[in-house]
Structures are given as C-alpha cells and as structure tokens.
C-alpha cells in the first residue's frame, strides 16, 4: 500500500506538469476550434464551420500533401545519413575515447540556435552566394543556379541539416547495445558484411530508427519557420497555414487546423509504433 502511494507521489510531479502545460492547452485549442471569429474578435460557440471550410478547401489538401512530401523526403535523407554516421561511430571507431569525441563533434552545431543555422544557408546558396560563385569559378556552370535558394531543395536541405542528429543519437544508442558476439557469430556462420548489416544490425537498430523517425517526422510536420525562410515564402505547409491564421486573428480556424494536424501526426506515430514495439525492444 505505502509502496503504491510512494509510486503515485513519484509520478505526480511530471503528471502535474504534463496536465498543466500539455493536456490543458490542447483541450483549450480543441474547444476554441469550434468557436466563431470575426475580423477582430472570437466568440464562444459550437459550430463546425472551421472544420467544414478546412475539409472543403483545396488548399488544405495541397498543403497537407506538401507537408507529407517534406516529411517523407527529409526522413529518407536523415535516415540514410544518420544511419551511416551512427554505423561509423559504433562499429568503425573502436576506441571509446574517439567515439565520445566524435559524437561530441556531431553535436557542435547544436551550440547555436536553429534559426541561425538555417539562415546561414541563405547567403551561401544565393544567386551571388558562395556555392554559385565557387561553381562558376570552377567552370562547372556558366549561369548561377536559381534553384539552390528559395526552393523545395533549399527547404529540404535545411531540414536535413537541422534534424539529422535526431537520427544519429537514437540509432547510435541502439547500435552500442548490440552484443558484439552476435556480429562475430554471423561472421563465423559465413554471413557477408551486407548480410550481417541487413539481418543482424538493422533489425536490432529498429527501436533507434523508430525513435529517430518519430523525432524527424513530428519536427518537420510541425515546422513553419524553415519553410517560410528557405522557400522565400513561396511554399506552404500546415504550420504556415496556422501561423497565417494567427496573424490575421483567426484563432478558431488556426485551432481547427492545429487539431487536424495533431490527429494526423498521432495517426502517423501510431502506425509507426505498430511496426516496432519500442517498449519491448528497449
């Protein structure tokens, strides 16, 4: 009995924090999403107008599709790069000191803010930027490449740059837990390096991959500032739709979009968790 009370008490602080700062705001957003709005104010009501408009507008579908596109492409790149980096750190670098040192180097970009890391791409990729002038001086191109900046390419480049570490860390963590004797056993049984990778390492890294995937997908789907800056405001994702509504005082409509986005992201995560039982594998 006392043990149970202690357990409840131990869980209480985090539960209270989550209730107050996560659950309550979400409930509030859900309530406001049914309210009505005029040009300058919002009024309590229970109407479905916001949702009806959302589901009838072709913009919603274009923008959600675009959001998924960004998430999928970014996921593919961050996974490939993140897995490779983690593999190198875990299996190629044998010395623990070096492993720690190299791992710390990976985190160096995180010492500056997200926004600064993103914005520093703009002068680099610009029409007269470093990338274009270097390519021209090497004679690779004659005219500056316009699609380097203010394009989907730039958006995805920034996403990959910002979020790859979120893949590296959990995958690296999973790899370090793999019992090295399993790899020896695979080798002894005559498996090639590729077969070991595919049949031993990847299955054992699944929880890490899944955690990284959840990080990247939710971060990309919830973003609005990267898309705004890197596309030069020319592309839209769901986050920008919400931020536009907020700036025009359309809080109920912004809330409705936010709720739909939240549900979409939750569905994606549930589907991902179906694939791997993280709890069991951790």
């Amino acid at each position: 009995m006392t043990k149970q009370i202690t357990a409840w008490l131990q869980a209480a602080p985090i539960a209270i924090v989550l209730l107050g700062f996560l659950v309550a705001p979400i409930i509030m957003i859900a309530i406001v999403s049914f309210w009505g709005a005029t040009e300058y104010s919002i009024y309590p009501a229970f109407e479905l107008d916001n949702y009806v408009f959302l589901f009838q507008s072709s913009v919603t579908y274009t923008v959600f599709l675009n959001t998924f596109k960004y998430a999928a492409i970014t996921w593919a790149f961050t996974l490939t790069i993140g897995f490779t980096v983690a593999y190198f750190l875990a299996f190629e670098v044998r010395n623990v000191k070096w492993q720690t040192a190299l791992f710390l180097i990976c985190t160096i970009p995180f010492w500056t803010s997200n926004i600064i890391r993103m914005i520093s791409w703009i002068p680099f990729l610009g029409r007269n930027g470093l990338a274009n002038s270097t390519l021209i001086s090497w004679g690779v191109i004659d005219e500056p490449l316009e699609w380097l900046l203010f394009s989907d390419f730039a958006v995805i480049l920034a996403f990959v740059h910002l979020y790859t570490l979120f893949m590296v860390v959990p995958i690296f963590n999973s790899m370090m837990r793999i019992d090295r004797s399993l790899l020896e056993a695979a080798q002894d049984s005559g498996a090639s390096a590729a077969q070991t990778l595919w049949n031993v390492i990847i299955p054992l890294c699944k929880p890490g991959i899944m955690i990284g995937t959840i990080f990247v997908v939710t971060l990309v789907m919830g973003d609005f500032i990267t898309v705004r800056f890197m596309s030069g405001s020319q592309s839209a994702n769901v986050g920008r739709l919400i931020s536009n509504d907020i700036s025009l005082l359309q809080y109920p409509s912004a809330s409705a979009t936010a709720i739909v986005l939240l549900c979409t992201v939750l569905i994606v995560i549930v589907m991902l968790l179906r694939l791997v039982d993280i709890r069991k594998e951790l």
């Binding site: 040009e39 300058y40 104010s41 507008s57 072709s58 913009v59 274009t62 923008v63 675009n66 703009i122 002068p123 610009g126 029409r127 007269n128 316009e146 900046l149 203010f150 705004r228 596309s231 030069g232 405001s233 020319q234 592309s235 839209a236 920008r240 739709l241 536009n244 907020i246 700036s247 025009l248 005082l249 359309q250």
Partner: protein, 424 residues
C-alpha cells in the same frame, strides 16, 4: 482635492510610482499635480517605423513623461490592439487597422478641441483632400476612419465630428523599389513587376492586406482589370487578380516573398531581386550599404499608408491628460522634423519646418535639389549636393496617391485566396 487625485490613480500607476505617489497624495493639491505628471508612465506600442527611442528620450526631457516603447510587426500590432487592451496606453497603429480594431472597443475617441494643432493637421486626415481641388484616392482613406460620432462613438462618420479615432503621426507614399544598376533602363509603370524580363528577380510582400493592393496596381496598369475600388474589391475582382498572379508565380516570376523589413532589404541588397514592393526606409537601408537603389515613382501613382496614435479606453484622469499632453507635444514639431529627415511625412508639416534646416526642408518636403549633404537623424549620408528626392515634392508625391492601404469587406475571402496563392 487630494482624495480626488488619489481616486484618479489607476492601480498600475500607483504600483509604479509607489512611495512618491503616496507621499504626494498627502501633500497640498498644486504640489500633487507637479509630482504626478513627472511620475507618469505611458506604454506605447507600434511598428518599428515610429517606435523610436529618440522620441522617448526627448519626451522625458521636455515633458517628464516616461514612454515605454514596444516595437512589433504589422500583424502583431493588430493582434495586440484587438486582444490585449490592458497591455498598452497608447496604440500606434495604421489607419486601415483601425477598421478592424475600433469595433473591439479597446480605444477611446479623442476630443479634437484638446489638440492644439488640430487646424494645421494635413487635409488628407481631415477632409481626405490634400488640397481643396484633390480627388480622394481609393481604399481606406484615413479620414474615412478618422472620426466617430461622439466620445464613446462606435461608428465612423464622414465629417470632422470633433471626435478622432487616431491622431495622425506619420505617413508616406509607397511604390516599387528597383536596382537601377541591374535593370539599366527606365521603369515607369507598375506592369514591370510582372514583366518576364525580370523572371525570378521580382518580389512582393507577403502581408495580404498590403500585397493585394500592389497586385491591384499591377493588374490595373496592365489593363487586365478595371476595379470599382481597389480598396474594396468584389469577389470576381479578387479572383481575377489572383489568377494573374498565380500564373506569374507558377511561371517563376518571383524569387521570394517577404514579410519583414529586413527581408526586403536583404533581397534587394544581395541582388536576389531587382524589382519589388518596398518601404521607404528599406530603400535607405539598401543605399547605406553602398548599393544603388531607387524608390521609383510610377505613372499610375502611389499606394499610400498612414499611421496614428490611439488612446486606450482604460486611460482616465491624470494619465489621460498626460496622453493628450504627449500627443500635443508629438505634433508640435520636433518629432515631425525627426521623421521627415528619414523620408516620412509628419501630420503637421509646417510645425516641423522649424526643426529642419532650410536645405533639409527643401530636399525632403519641396522636392528641391540638395545644396549640401543630406544626412539622416542618425548621421548616415542619404544624398549629396545636387540630388533630388525620388518622386519630388510632398504635393507631387502625396497628390499622386492612387490607393490607400485598406481592409475590404471581402477581407476573409481575400485572405483565403491569399493562402491559396502562397500554396500554389
């Protein structure tokens, strides 16, 4: 007397002034007055354009009033004026925003008889006419939202009723900015924004209420659409306008859209963009980096905007008096001169004249060639001897306004179309 004075204190000012106020309220009445106006704090917010620390320093010096400034972007200004009435005493907003914010009831009408220089305020803000012969431009012209029917009036009236919503502070005529060194030919019309010659090198601003106006100026100049009123379009007019711009966007006409002042400066200075909608101080900022940039007057005229200060509905007594005192000081000339030397216009131009040199007045207001270097109040050189201002004199520029920034009746429809345009 002392009890009345005490009652007049709002809770906040009591907290702020603390002991001094308590001490003062126990003293004799005339003494109390002197103490109070020195301790008054007014909280003002607005866009970065006019929220300048120099003004706060000067008002402290001249009147003893402490001004706390908060600078926000256009959208956030609207948001705060409409939703956070307790967070400000003075709202420095644009006239077109007034249409959105006034019905929220967070501002109070001002008694024009308490404004010393009321009769000298430019005609644009009182009758809508710059000179008696001028025609009134389209859009939300400031005088149409400048007056209400009484001290607690909620509906705008079309005459000088004596109850003002905002006191005009600062205004200007906007046009396209260009990079003359990268274009190398004269630009005379708004149509050039969609000229395929500038494919991938044009930009407009991503603030729907202003962007739609620039679009309308272009479409009208192209002869594609004739608007009844560009400031109050019908749904069909909105659809047609967006159709033209969506096609241009898909063809890659635009390099980027910008939302903040800094973005517009960077796009222009880096050469990413050679023609775009721009604000006057942004041109100055590009020039001060040594990059040539012209605020190009166009034959179809300007898109104009005006800002003004409104008083929070919560203000009363001492603080209200201080707010009037501050506003009268604002119109008395020093601020006007300070703003005009940056290229804006002051609501009461003639009082500013005393605070500018004859050469500055000639250059900025009369459109004359500068006799010597023209510098900004911050000391940057903006023009040299012999230069004239883009667009000429005050009457040339403000007389050629085609349209004022506005909020349309179909605003919500327009905003949805704007979202579609961005996502297209």
């Amino acid at each position: 007397m002392t009890t009345i004075s005490k009652v007049r204190y709002s809770r906040r000012s009591l907290l702020k002034t603390g002991g001094a106020a308590l001490a003062a309220s126990t003293l004799a009445a005339p003494m109390v007055w002197g103490q109070e106006s020195k301790n008054i704090v007014l909280r003002q917010f607005g866009t970065g354009v006019s929220n300048l620390n120099e003004v706060a320093t000067k008002v402290k010096e001249d009147l003893g009033i402490t001004l706390e400034m908060t600078a926000l972007d256009t959208d956030s200004v609207t948001q705060r004026a409409a939703t956070q009435p307790d967070s400000f005493d003075i709202a420095d907003i644009e006239y077109f925003v007034c249409k959105k914010v006034w019905p929220a009831g967070n501002l109070q009408a001002m008694d024009a008889s308490k404004i010393t220089n009321y009769d000298k305020i430019a005609g644009l803000f009182r009758t809508g006419k710059l000179t008696p012969e001028s025609t009134i431009a389209q859009g939300t012209a400031p005088h149409t939202v400048g007056f209400v029917d009484g001290p607690s009036g909620t509906s705008f009236v079309d005459n000088e009723s004596g109850w003002m919503t905002l006191i005009p502070t600062i205004y200007n005529a906007d046009t396209l900015g260009i990079r003359p060194d990268l274009i190398n030919r004269p630009i005379t019309s708004w149509t050039e924004l969609l000229n395929p010659e500038f494919k991938g090198k044009a930009s407009i601003l991503d603030i729907s209420s202003i962007g739609i106006m620039d679009m309308a100026m272009v479409c009208e100049a192209m002869g594609e659409i004739t608007y009844g009123d560009k400031g109050n379009m019908t749904k069909e007019e909105i659809d047609k306008t967006f159709a033209i711009f969506t096609e241009a966007k898909k063809n890659g006409q635009f390099r980027a859209f910008w939302k903040t002042f800094d973005e517009s400066v960077n796009l222009m200075a880096s050469g990413e963009v050679v023609i775009q909608s721009m604000w006057s101080p942004a041109i100055t900022a590009v020039k001060s980096r040594g990059v040539p940039c012209v605020y190009q007057p166009l034959k179809e005229g300007y898109r104009s905007w005006g800002g003004g200060m409104g008083i929070s509905a919560n203000l009363s007594g001492m603080e209200l008096d201080a707010a009037y005192e501050y506003i009268n000081w604002y119109l008395s000339g020093w601020v006007g001169g300070f703003l005009m030397r940056q290229g804006y216009y002051s609501a009461v131009p003639e009082t500013s004249k005393d605070f500018m040199s004859a050469d500055e007045w000639g250059y900025w207001f009369e459109g004359k060639a500068a006799a010597g270097d023209i510098t900004s109040p911050f000391g940057d050189k903006l023009a040299g001897s012999g230069d004239t201002r883009d667009g000429g004199s005050f009457y040339d520029r403000m007389g050629a306004v085609a349209c004022w920034n506005s909020v349309m009746e179909e605003n919500q429809y327009m905003v949805r179309k704007w979202n579609e345009f961005i996502a297209a």
